[in-house]
Symmetry: C2
Subunit: 343 residues, 2 copies
């Protein structure tokens, strides 16, 4: 008799796997405590203040290639991706914890540069490093970070607050990081990098967490749902849809793209709209906004940050349905997010 085939993590894929194990997390929680399902967990602190907590892991060979990213950039990015989750809650980051598993043959000079990059962003954002763990690893570097932040109860924005009719907007250009990743992974990049190429590489290697934007948006009652763009609009918007029980339509021609990404897309024949819609790791913020107040909010945002709060679509009542429109007509996106468990 044949033994039944063992189901493996790769058979489920990342989202299937999360759906499989989530029930273990979704136990009844005490009042005021929020667990899995948002950018951060939320815990009562003192008075109206809440503690928000996020943790993220970066694995060599999965999230980064040691030969392709400088140690300094990697140190910076390890903290940045966690601060981006804090930004998405409208919170202020305070304390960080850094655990690193390192192979014994790692050069001290590499680590020195790693910590330099980490410290640069720590100083800029006034986040204190309070602890962590250092340990050996057989072959690969693994970085695990936890960040604690603080927010006013009334300012915290959840993924579950989107309502049909809301305008969907983003706080930065989309697809730059994916463009940078494509340059890193392609052999065809010329030795002499153009200005546009350098821009995209920097956006991939040194993402800027939108902390000030998050804190600004969190004080506006017209901002309903908020999260950070980590896996790409196409994946991330589905999470808002799922948590809010709604659908969405996205206007492809409205996705804000940088001149640098346009240049490179033309040069390398990249599918520009696909990259903007499905490319991950931009770490700007994705919000849904009361449509009656969007114009005023966008004007205030422009006044404060000198950039657009770009409207890219609208929340619809059709639960679970994400539609892309190009010049008013439905458009089928070819690619759909990134799966860490696919080989």
């Amino acid at each position: 008799m044949k033994k039944p085939k063992e189901v493996k993590v790769s058979d489920l894929g990342e989202f299937g796997f999360i759906a499989w194990f989530s029930p273990a997390f979704l136990r009844k929680l005490p009042r005021g405590v929020v667990g899995i399902g948002d950018d951060c967990a939320v815990i009562p602190w003192r008075g109206r203040k809440k503690l928000v907590v996020t943790t993220d892991m970066l694995v060599e060979g999965v999230h980064f290639l040691k030969e392709k990213i400088s140690a300094e950039d990697l140190g910076y990015k390890s903290l940045a991706v966690n601060l981006s989750d804090i930004a998405a809650m409208g919170a202020q980051p305070l304390y960080s914890f850094l655990s690193v598993a390192i192979p014994p043959e790692t050069e001290i000079s590499w680590l020195d540069k790693f910590f330099r990059g980490w410290r640069k962003l720590s100083r800029d954002t006034r986040v204190l490093l309070l602890g962590g763990d250092t340990t050996g690893s057989r072959e690969k570097i693994v970085i695990s970070v936890a960040v604690l932040g603080m927010a006013d109860e009334k300012n915290i924005r959840y993924r579950s607050a989107a309502r049909p009719g809301d305008i969907i907007a983003v706080t930065g250009t989309l697809g730059d990081s994916e463009g940078g990743l494509r340059l890193i992974l392609s052999a065809e990049t010329s030795a002499e990098l153009s200005k546009s190429e350098k821009f995209l590489l920097r956006r991939h290697c040194r993402p800027r967490p939108h902390l000030e934007e998050g804190q600004f948006l969190a004080t506006r009652p017209e901002v309903r749902a908020m999260m950070d763009v980590s896996d790409g609009i196409d994946s991330d918007l589905r999470r808002i849809m799922e948590r809010s029980g709604c659908g969405a339509e996205v206007y492809l021609e409205k996705l804000p793209v940088s001149p640098a990404l346009k240049n490179c897309a033309q040069k390398y024949r990249w599918p520009l709209e696909e990259i903007a819609a499905a490319g991950g790791e931009d770490y700007c913020l994705l919000v849904t906004v009361d449509p009656k107040k969007f114009i005023q909010l966008a004007a205030n945002f422009r006044g404060r940050f000198g950039r657009e709060l770009a409207a890219i679509g609208r929340i619809t009542p059709e639960k679970g349905r994400l539609t892309y429109l190009k010049e008013g007509k439905p458009y089928a996106l070819r690619k759909s997010g990134f799966d860490h468990f696919k080989k």
Copy 2:
């Protein structure tokens, strides 16, 4: 010209490495905040309550061998080693965060058992799982855990509070976990395990965090320094000495050992006292106590837990000097702790 040799992590060793990078952590911290250097970081919470935070990483091939520990035990142990740090602060654990990097070929049934072990200890200790991260890994499983707990300011015990004359004591038997590890790593173990062997294996695979003992000891003003035994008395006591600026003497014949360890040490010709002094991962607590009040404390401890609070030595004024005595004479220990960075 020859290029100067790059210094590698393995050249420094674990403690050298920690000494090298610690300055980055030891920045001036705000009042009431404690960073690296103890079992947990400490952060003001509300009123006299403090938040304590610990994080630990477990790497396949370094901290565990997937073929040698059951998934359920590993899930249990991943949480237990973190709860042990909380116990060492005299705190109560509240919330946990679990990040796992898993190779795509990992069987779902393995993960199911891992979470079952985790949940068992979560339930027993009423710790809520609030989040984490799941991600792919190229080859090895990496587990990173963070636990948040709560303690009264006045009950928190630090490593830096030991004073010359203090009695050094432990809350459990020493060396059992190292005995279990030796059985796991040796090929000579017989197929049919003896009761003693099973006991040691269980102590290695399912360590019990001494939470109640920690909370009990933390309320006694005569208990000065406290930490958990994770790397072995020989390493851990040095940390108390370093933080408290003192020395210590340890009476080898007083180290409490289990009958099971005695049996196996006899059977396999293990160096019993070396294992008790230098074996890691027992996860009991190590305290230093005002000598005038030790007898009363030990009696209370016995009354409450039905076990000995075993006196094993004394804090001395000689900074940095750790002496072992056997029948009153100095004794040189052969082995000295475990280094994660040695190949």
